[in-house]
């Protein structure tokens, strides 16, 4: 019979991107027993996702600059003495019953395990916003973030002729990445105009290195003769069983599609598209921390102080999960969270904490200016939400269309969970993790804003758990069946 094995740490860090790796390292270096949990086989998260360990660079640096940064963070983590649990799926988080602190339940092929700690740093990053359009469920259409995984970690081109669309820095990074890897970019379709990019320039100047890298991407795209359409949106992915072309139209600054003008067409066998990043705050919501809606930060975020403390003692949120601000800021926030956790646990003296945190805060300010400038390109564009056609599925899992959502509101649903109950929107295996933000945006237009529309209630499991893994092997006699109900 497999039973849940219980283990303890001082600080549990959930999520192994830059924020999580730095939090775990910082807490460990400060003398706390820290444990990093991530479902991937190595640290890196979305931005520094490493290729499989069995894949080698043909020459040093061949995997690119991000890979080098990721590698140094992984080294620092290993040196810090932090413990790691990679390849481990956290399926439940809860306040520890009876004890102070938190409990994280994980499962993998070795069975179930419950970790307990008085401090929990949540570093679960962001998910990508992809606003629906006709054909967006066709095979061959992927998120921009998905394209980065293909390029960086899987060493795979998204297609042979790839259209790259959406907004924000990923747009350029992906287009440049495809070209660099020897692929063909069919076109870059940017929601932003030149003046939108110029508007974020002052903030971007805080990181001249990254700015130069972006400029090189743009120059490369131009040099390759790739069509670059600004202030345009993909209005349809065309094809029967897979994408074979896309239709584009000009958009207004708020994303409203100009349906009057003749749509353009680009042939392609893949479309990668993303409309920005949304903080992933499932964990802090399940635990009941206070959140607020902050559109400039990407959506709902946990309220936190300068040391990444949330409203719940012992619970910290670092990185994009607390508001979109980019990789550099995430790493610094992680370090601050790790140090604060160590201090709050008494492992780090107050003065020492202040000394260590001060320079981090200064660097964070600079990193945030850049990150926030980029986030400015990725905010939700209300006109694009308004332009989602009635018959387009919004919930991919359950094929619930925008018209069905509108209908539920017309029948009296006043917030997203009621819409969900009446339409099954968000009840599929992704549990609204893909459509939740869009549904809320659609409902918000009808009920008077995001706060009224609310958010899908976050619940465990954090990811679908295979039943076989959850139950392990057991004897019937050992199931602790509660007392029979009264007759």
């Amino acid at each position: 019979m497999t039973e849940t094995i219980a283990s303890r740490a001082d600080v549990i860090v959930l999520g192994g991107g830059p924020a999580g790796m730095c939090a775990a390292s910082a807490a460990a270096r400060a003398g706390s027993d820290s444990l990093l949990i991530d479902e991937n086989s190595q640290g890196g998260g979305q931005v520094y996702r490493a290729p499989p360990a069995a894949f080698a660079e043909t020459s040093p640096g061949a995997f690119g600059p991000d890979h080098a940064i990721g590698a140094s963070l992984r080294l620092a983590l290993a040196d810090s003495g932090a413990r790691t649990a990679f390849g481990c799926r956290a399926w439940s988080v809860s306040r520890d019953v009876g004890g102070a602190g938190f409990r994280v339940d994980v499962c993998d092929d070795n069975g179930l395990k419950a970790w307990r700690a008085p401090a929990l740093v949540v570093a679960t990053g962001a998910t990508e916003r992809v606003l629906p359009f006709p054909g967006w469920t066709l095979p061959g259409v992927h998120g921009l973030a998905a394209a980065t995984v293909m390029l960086k970690a899987q060493k795979l081109l998204p297609g042979e002729r790839v259209a790259v669309a959406g907004c924000g820095p990923l747009l350029l990074a992906v287009a440049a990445g495809i070209a660099k890897a020897g692929g063909k970019v069919a076109g870059v379709i940017d929601l932003a105009s030149v003046s939108d990019w110029l508007r974020v320039l002052p903030g971007a100047l805080s990181r001249p290195d990254l700015l130069a890298r972006g400029a090189a991407w743009v120059a490369g795209i131009a040099a390759a003769g790739t069509p670059y359409l600004r202030r345009h949106a993909v209005t349809a992915a065309l094809g029967d069983d897979r994408v074979s072309a896309i239709a584009l139209s000009p958009v207004a600054a708020d994303g409203t599609v100009d349906r009057a003008s003749q749509p353009l067409r680009i042939d392609c066998d893949a479309l990668v598209i993303g409309h920005g990043l949304v903080p992933n705050c499932d964990v802090t919501r399940i635990l009941g921390a206070t959140h607020r809606y902050a559109p400039a930060d990407g959506g709902w975020i946990a309220v936190r102080d300068g040391d990444m403390r949330t409203s719940i003692p012992g619970l910290y949120m670092a990185g994009d999960g607390g508001g979109i601000s980019g990789a550099a800021a995430a790493a610094l926030q992680g370090e601050l969270a790790g140090l604060a956790a160590a201090r709050d646990l008494g492992a780090l003296a107050a003065q020492r904490h202040l000394d260590l945190a001060a320079p981090l805060r200064r660097r964070l300010g600079r990193a945030m200016r850049f990150g926030r400038a980029m986030a400015g390109l990725m905010v939700e564009r209300p006109g694009l939400v308004a332009s989602i056609p009635a018959e387009t599925p919004v919930c991919r899992c359950e094929d619930v269309t925008r018209a069905e959502i509108d209908q539920a509101v017309a029948e009296g649903a006043r917030e997203v969970n009621q819409v969900k109950a009446w339409t099954r929107c968000g009840m599929g295996p992704c549990q609204g993790r893909m459509c939740g933000d869009t549904v809320a945006a659609v409902v918000a237009r009808l009920v008077g804003g995001r706060s009224a529309a609310g958010a899908f209630t976050a619940r465990v499991p954090l990811r679908p758990v295979p039943t076989a893994q959850l139950i392990g092997s057991f004897d019937y006699a050992d199931i602790p069946i509660p007392r029979p109900a009264p007759l």
Partner: protein, 94 residues
């Protein structure tokens, strides 16, 4: 043209996985989604309500669109790692 990027990367020797009983070449360590896409599979399943073809979308285990079975266990193909002889069934869970 192969969709696998050759530039700058040295892969281990290939293995084969079994996809609906068909032998498909793959590299150890890459995800099953990658192996399937590289082998020309586009749709992995149909959506249960509308019956529309679906393939990998998010590649990070969130969207569940690339759901397959490894043995009996349903798992997103982007979260399953290739190893020699892995038996994969397409078609999701329905």
């Amino acid at each position: 043209m192969s969709r696998r990027i050759e530039k700058g990367v040295q892969r281990p020797p290939p293995v084969t996985i079994l996809v609906d009983g068909r032998l498909v070449p793959a590299f150890p360590g890459e995800s099953v989604a990658t192996a399937l896409l590289a082998a020309g599979y586009v749709a992995f399943r149909k959506s249960p309500r509308a019956g529309k073809p679906r393939g990998p979308f998010c590649m990070i285990g969130s969207c569940q669109e690339c759901l397959i079975r490894v043995g009996e266990v349903p798992v997103p193909a982007c979260q399953a790692t290739v190893r020699e002889g892995l038996e994969v069934t397409l078609g999701g869970t329905q």
